[in-house]
């Protein structure tokens, strides 16, 4: 669904854009999984791109947003592959319930 290189880009973006307010461990803990277990990767992308950064939602590019989502998927145990996640990829319909849960 996403590649390691994409996840690495997302990690750097997370550090630059998200860590002002969020720890990465918040993106995979019990509370995160409780909140998102009934939703899809696309829902998370819509949420993040529509509401983050908190004071300037939508200010990242679509590619940057999916890179951040790829990083979060990696945190939640989703395996890397050979194809990058794209803003309109079929993988967006994947349930967010963590593979490890």
């Amino acid at each position: 669904m996403f590649t390691q290189a994409q996840s690495d880009r997302g990690r750097q973006l997370f550090r630059d854009e998200c860590s002002e307010c969020h720890y990465s461990s918040e993106m995979r803990d019990n509370a995160f999984q409780y909140e998102w277990e009934r939703r899809t990767v696309g829902d998370l992308l819509d949420h993040v791109s529509g509401s983050m950064p908190d004071d300037d939602p939508g200010s990242l590019t679509p590619q940057q947003y999916v890179d951040v989502i790829a990083y979060i998927l990696g945190l939640n145990g989703f395996p890397t592959g050979t194809v990058e996640l794209a803003p309109d990829a079929p993988g967006l319909a994947t349930p967010l319930k963590s593979p490890g849960s």
């Binding site: 860590s19 720890y23 909140e35 004071d55 945190l75």
Partner: protein, 436 residues
């Protein structure tokens, strides 16, 4: 039956776990609160509460009403301008479908609403409006979300009244609200707003009238981290002795307990609150003509009498690592976001002046739950904090629980007590730029 002070202190001094068995038995058997005698200068308090915010002020009052002598210490004074429990208002709602502890919180918030009303009935002065206003709370989303589903599940389980509205119904009831692309609406009619600063002031005033002592001063960092605590020392050198201690320090907690809480409570995000001027003579944005509201990432409520400081909107925040020095006003570079949201849902306010801004620290725990627990190395020292932006509204219930825990009226193995333990997990530092 009131606890005897000598027994209490003796128990504290001798009980390894900080709980005196005889004393606890007496307190646990107590079914009617009593009033403690006043703490006089030079006397040793049974319990010293450090921090006069929502946790500390309510805990001090309940402790005292259970018959012990209490001294409350705050570095600037309760409800001061840097306090996390300061500021003008806090919303009270029970819509916690997005929180793992949502059902429990919803129950406490429901009870708190009743207690806020009762507090007004008992302590409101003739000169000022009440502290609690029932505004109702309208939650609007573009589509059904688990947050909405779970909130309704919780409310159904509790038997709490609510309404599912359409966007048309929202505009009919409250014409000043616009509903662009809104498809899902929940309305909680009993939700409301509390005057925050005034509420804490009133709780502390009642505490003082009933015999409590308030001291203004900053407690020095504790020396060593083990053994029972006999006293805290203020920065002017004054020792304040006590039998048990409650540290309810909000965003100052990680600084006082860096090893224990430095990676378990994060304080670095400050929420942004704006009070928007309503148009002169326009009553649409004042209580009771418009409800509190919740749209993605944003909450707010109507202007309240008597001063009508403005229509409240809360958006995202900025970073501030030190609660002593963090910036508590909001720079103009952030003002576009609230105006954007106002333009979407309350367009008549989008270009209105901003009357005032305020920023205060969120105290997020790694467990996402409140922390009410005994210090692991100091059996007579209790930690109360980790409000996760939801503690103030539940203060009247939280404070009672803190008091019951400190006095042993709630056992360590109680299910709720367990849920408020200092979490074992920590925020991680190897990812996401953690900077202790």
């Amino acid at each position: 039956m009131a606890i005897h002070r000598r027994d209490f202190l003796k128990g504290v001094a001798t009980a390894g776990a900080g709980i005196a068995m005889g004393t606890v038995d007496e307190l646990a058997a107590q079914d009617r609160p009593t009033r403690a005698p006043a703490v006089r200068a030079g006397q040793v308090a049974d319990v010293v509460v450090v921090g006069g915010g929502a946790f500390g002020a309510w805990a001090a009052l309940y402790l005292q009403r259970l018959g012990v002598r209490v001294t409350l210490i705050d570095q600037h004074g309760p409800a001061n301008s840097r306090a996390t429990s300061g500021g003008e208002t806090r919303g009270v709602r029970t819509s916690y479908g997005d929180r793992p502890h949502g059902l429990q919180w919803a129950g406490w918030a429901t009870e708190s609403i009743q207690r806020w009303k009762a507090w007004d009935a008992e302590h409101r002065t003739d000169l000022l409006p009440p502290l609690y206003f029932t505004t109702g709370d309208v939650i609007m989303r573009e589509e059904m979300e688990p947050f909405i589903e779970r909130t309704m599940e919780n409310w159904d389980a509790m038997g709490r009244p609510y309404e599912v509205l359409t966007a048309d119904e929202v505009r009919y009831r409250w014409p000043a609200i616009h509903t662009p692309d809104i498809e899902v609406v929940l309305y909680e009619p009993d939700a409301g707003v509390v005057r925050a600063r005034r509420a804490i002031e009133s709780v502390v005033e009642v505490f003082k009238r009933e015999g409590g002592q308030v001291r203004i001063g900053r407690v020095q960092p504790l020396e060593g981290m083990s053994g029972d605590l006999g006293a805290v020392v203020l920065e002017d050198g004054t020792r304040v002795e006590g039998g048990r201690f409650v540290f309810a320090l909000g965003p100052w907690l990680p600084g006082y307990f860096p090893d224990l809480l430095g990676k378990r409570i994060r304080i670095r995000t400050l929420g942004h609150v704006y009070y928007i001027a309503t148009p002169p003579g326009d009553m649409r944005f004042q209580v009771p003509n418009i409800p509190s509201y919740n749209v993605p990432g944003v909450t707010g409520w109507p202007a309240l009498p008597q001063d009508f400081r403005g229509f409240r909107i809360r958006t995202g925040g900025h970073r501030g690592d030190d609660p002593d020095t963090s910036v508590r006003w909001i720079d103009a570079e952030h003002h576009d976001r609230p105006r954007e949201v106002l333009g979407e849902f309350f367009p008549a306010l989008a270009e209105q002046p901003i009357n005032e801004t305020r920023a205060c620290h969120y105290c997020g725990s790694v467990s996402r739950n409140f922390i009410i627990d005994r210090h692991p190395e100091r059996s007579n020292l209790w930690i109360a904090g980790g409000g996760n932006a939801e503690a103030f509204k539940q203060g009247p219930v939280l404070g009672e629980f803190v008091a019951d825990r400190v006095l042993g009226r709630v056992a360590d193995d109680d299910e709720l007590a367990q849920s408020f333990r200092i979490p074992e997990e920590e925020f991680e530092e190897d990812e996401g730029g953690f900077e202790p």
